[in-house]
Symmetry: C2
Subunit: 325 residues, 2 copies
C-alpha cells in the first residue's frame, strides 16, 4: 500500500519484475488481500510467481513513524518486515511511509553488530556518474563515530553495487583542510583518516555534482536539507523556462525545445533509475522507494534488493567494520 500510486504501481512494477526475469525470484505482496486481488485482476499476472500475505492495516502519511508500528500491528510494513526477520522473505521493499519503514527496519530487524545508527543514503547525479550521500536524513545530531560508520557502509555499498574497486570517501565540510568544519566533523575526520577506507579528506558542497568522490559522508540534518534542495532544482528550472517562454513567440518555441531537452539532461537526477534507497546497517535488506514511484521504479527497487541479497552486503559491512577499526 506504499506510495502515492499504490497499489497500482507497486503491483504493476512487481509483476513486470517477475515477467522480465521469468520468475527468477518469488514476490510476496503484503497488504489488504481484497485490494491486492482486485488490482491483480487489472494486470496480466498469469504465471507470475507471487503470493499474498494479508495485512489489513494501512499506514497514513500523517502517522508518526514509531507510534504507528505499535498502533497498526498489521500494516504491510510491520507484517512484511516480520516475514523478512523470520526468514520467510530475503528482503523487504516499500514505497510507503519512509519514517515507518526506517523505524520498522531498525526495531524489527535490529542493527548489524558494531553499527550504532543505521543510515539511509541518497543518490546524487554527478559529472562522473553517481555519488552516494550518507546520511540523507535518518540521523540528526550524529556523533563522530556515526559519521565514520556511514563512511564504512557507503564504501561497501558502492564497491559492491557499483563495482568500484576502491571507492573514494569524502567528508562533507566547509573547506578542504582538516581544520575546517564543525566540531563533530573535525573529530570524524580523524576517525576516517585512521581507517582503511580510501578517505580523501573533506569535500565541499560544490564537489557533489562534480563527482569528486564516490561517497559523501554527512550528518542526516545536512544531508536531508541538501537532498530536498537538489530535488527542487528541476522544478525551479522548469519555472524559469516557463517564465522566459512567456516573453515572446520565439522564446516560447525555444522554451518547448528546451523543456524536451532538459528532460533528457535531468534524467540522471531521477530516482526511477536507482529504484529507491537502501537502509544500511540493519540486519536485513530493506529498501525505501520514492512516494511517487512508477512501476519502473518499483521494478528496479526489487532488482536492487535481489542484488543486495546475492552480494551479501551486510556480511561485507560487518567484515569491513572489523578491518576499519
Amino acid at each position: 500500500m506504499g506510495g502515492d500510486f499504490a497499489p497500482a504501481n507497486v503491483i504493476m512494477g512487481a509483476v513486470e519484475a517477475l515477467k522480465e526475469t521469468q520468475n527468477r525470484f518469488e514476490i510476496i505482496f503484503v497488504g489488504p488481500e481484497a485490494v491486492i486481488h482486485d488490482q491483480l485482476r487489472r494486470v496480466q499476472a498469469n504465471g507470475a510467481a507471487f503470493r499474498i500475505v494479508d495485512a489489513p492495516d494501512v499506514i497514513d502519511m500523517h502517522d508518526g513513524a514509531t507510534a504507528v508500528l505499535k498502533q497498526k500491528k498489521n500494516s504491510s510494513i510491520a507484517v512484511g518486515m516480520n516475514l523478512h526477520r523470520d526468514g520467510k522473505a530475503d528482503a523487504f521493499v516499500s514505497a510507503g511511509h519512509s519514517g515507518a519503514v526506517m523505524s520498522a527496519s531498525t526495531l524489527i530487524l535490529g542493527r548489524i553488530e558494531g553499527i550504532g545508527r543505521p543510515t539511509i543514503g541518497a543518490f546524487f547525479p554527478s559529472e562522473r556518474g553517481v555519488t552516494l550521500l550518507v546520511d540523507a536524513g535518518a540521523n540528526v545530531d550524529c556523533k563522530p563515530q556515526h559519521l565514520f560508520e556511514f563512511g564504512v557502509m557507503g564504501s561497501i555499498y558502492t564497491r559492491q553495487m557499483f563495482g568500484i574497486p576502491s571507492p573514494t570517501v569524502g567528508l562533507l565540510s566547509i573547506g578542504e583542510e582538516s581544520s575546517k568544519g564543525n566540531d563533530v566533523v573535525k573529530e570524524a575526520h580523524k576517525l576516517l583518516e585512521g581507517s582503511g577506507l580510501n578517505f580523501v579528506g573533506n569535500v565541499e558542497g560544490r564537489d557533489i555534482l562534480k563527482g569528486a568522490v564516490n561517497v559523501v559522508v554527512c550528518d542526516g540534518f545536512v544531508g536531508n536539507i541538501l537532498l530536498k534542495f537538489a530535488e527542487s532544482v528541476p522544478g525551479f528550472l522548469k519555472f524559469k523556462v516557463k517564465q522566459a517562454a512567456a516573453t515572446s513567440a520565439l522564446m516560447s518555441v525555444m522554451g518547448l525545445m528546451m523543456k524536451n531537452m532538459m528532460r533528457g539532461v535531468l534524467r540522471s537526477m531521477d530516482y526511477e533509475e536507482y529504484g529507491g534507497v537502501p537502509i544500511l546497517g540493519v540486519n536485513g535488506i530493506s529498501i525505501i522507494g520514492h512516494g511517487k514511484s512508477t512501476p519502473k521504479a518499483i521494478k528496479n527497487m526489487i532488482f536492487k534488493a535481489e542484488e543486495m541479497v546475492l552480494k551479501n552486503i551486510n556480511g561485507k559491512i560487518q567484515e569491513a567494520l572489523v578491518l576499519a577499526k
Copy 2:
C-alpha cells in the same frame, strides 16, 4: 587588490559607480599606490571623485584569515577597515579574501550590542524573487541564540533593502513540525516563535528555490554547504547539455540554443546583480564581493553599501533586537 581580477575590475567598477551617479559619493581606493595609479591611467577616470590611501601589503588567498591581519598590518583590508572605524569612510567593500574581511570587520569594527556573532548572508534566487539565507558560512557550531539573531538581522535587512514590509522568516530544518530537526534548531524554534518577527516556522531544503519565505535561518555549516552546492548547479547543467549535444547534429544545435536560453534563466542565480553579501551585526557597513566580481558587480556592491548607510541598517538592527527580546 581584492578578487581574481583586481585591481582592474575593482577600479573600473568604482569609476563607473562615480560616473553613473555624478559623484554622489567619494571613493577611497586602498591598496599599493603605484598599482592603483597605473590602473587608473587605463580607465577614463577624469573628474571622478576618488582618493587613494596607500596600503602596500597584499593578502594572498592562501593566507589564514585571522593571522594575516597581524602579519600584514598594511593590507588594503586592514587599512580600509580602520578608515571606516575612524569615521573617515562610511562603508567598506572588498572582493578579496572573505575570511580576512569577515575577521577584520569583527575585530576592527566590533559587534553591535546584543549580537553574539556577526553573520554573512547569501542570496538565493527563487520563484518569488530573492531569498536571503543567513548564515552562509561565517559561523559553525551555532547556539540557538545565534540562530535567533540571524533571524532578526535577516528580517531587518530584507525589510530595508528589498522593501518588504514584514518579511517572512523560516528556520531551515528537515520537517515542518517544530519537533523536527536537531537539538539546536528545536531550541531556536522556540526563541524565534517567541519573537516579534514574522516567523512562519520550519522550512525545508525544497522551500528555498520555491521562495516560501524571505529569510531562511540556518547554521553557517549547513548554509555554506548549500550555497556551494547551489553555485555548482549551473556548471553541472552546462556539462550535461554539452554531453547531450555531442550525441547528434540536431542535439548540438539544440544544445547551443539551450545554452543561450539558460544563460538568461540562470541570470537570477548571479551574484553580479546583488553586488556582494553584507556582513551583518558589526559596528559598520562591510560588504564582501565574489572573487570573480566583474566591474558591474563592484559597482552594484558600492551602491548597496551606500544604501545600507543611508537606511541606517545597523541602528534598525539594534532597535529590533530590543523589541524581539
